[in-house]
Symmetry: C2
């Protein structure tokens, strides 16, 4: 078989998405919650959640609101510049 | 020709999306900017912008950041519960 490189979803990381991702990770870890648990809690898929934390997913408003609620912060705390 | 009803994108309006939409509209009008001008300013499509203001679009984090910048508010001002 040919060794065809697998197509990997790896968009350019937008600085704002990286910041959102690190903030989510930081708040989640501060609460002692695993990434999988946060995914299940918010109803966000586990691999999608991983993409959010890595800053490669431009997630939606409703995702942000779910994350903020689960992490007990204001939505703006996840997005502020 | 048959009179086939046009498929209209009209998802259930989520309260949080309605709130975001009204806030964007309110801030835009307070600045005397047309919907088309705000769309062009942010690079968001005009019909998509209309959907955001009507609360039928679950737009992305990057859209929210562009809107906040164009309207000179903090992203959280558009999303706060």
């Amino acid at each position: 078989m040919l060794n065809v490189p697998r197509k990997v979803r790896q968009p350019a990381k937008h600085p704002a998405l990286k910041k959102l991702g690190s903030r989510v990770r930081q708040l989640r870890q501060a609460r002692g919650v695993s990434q999988e648990a946060l995914a299940d809690l918010t109803g966000i898929g586990r691999s999608y959640m991983s993409g959010i934390e890595r800053g490669v997913r431009n997630c939606s408003v409703l995702h942000v609101l779910k994350l903020a609620k689960a992490l007990s912060v204001q939505p703006g705390d996840l997005l502020s510049n």
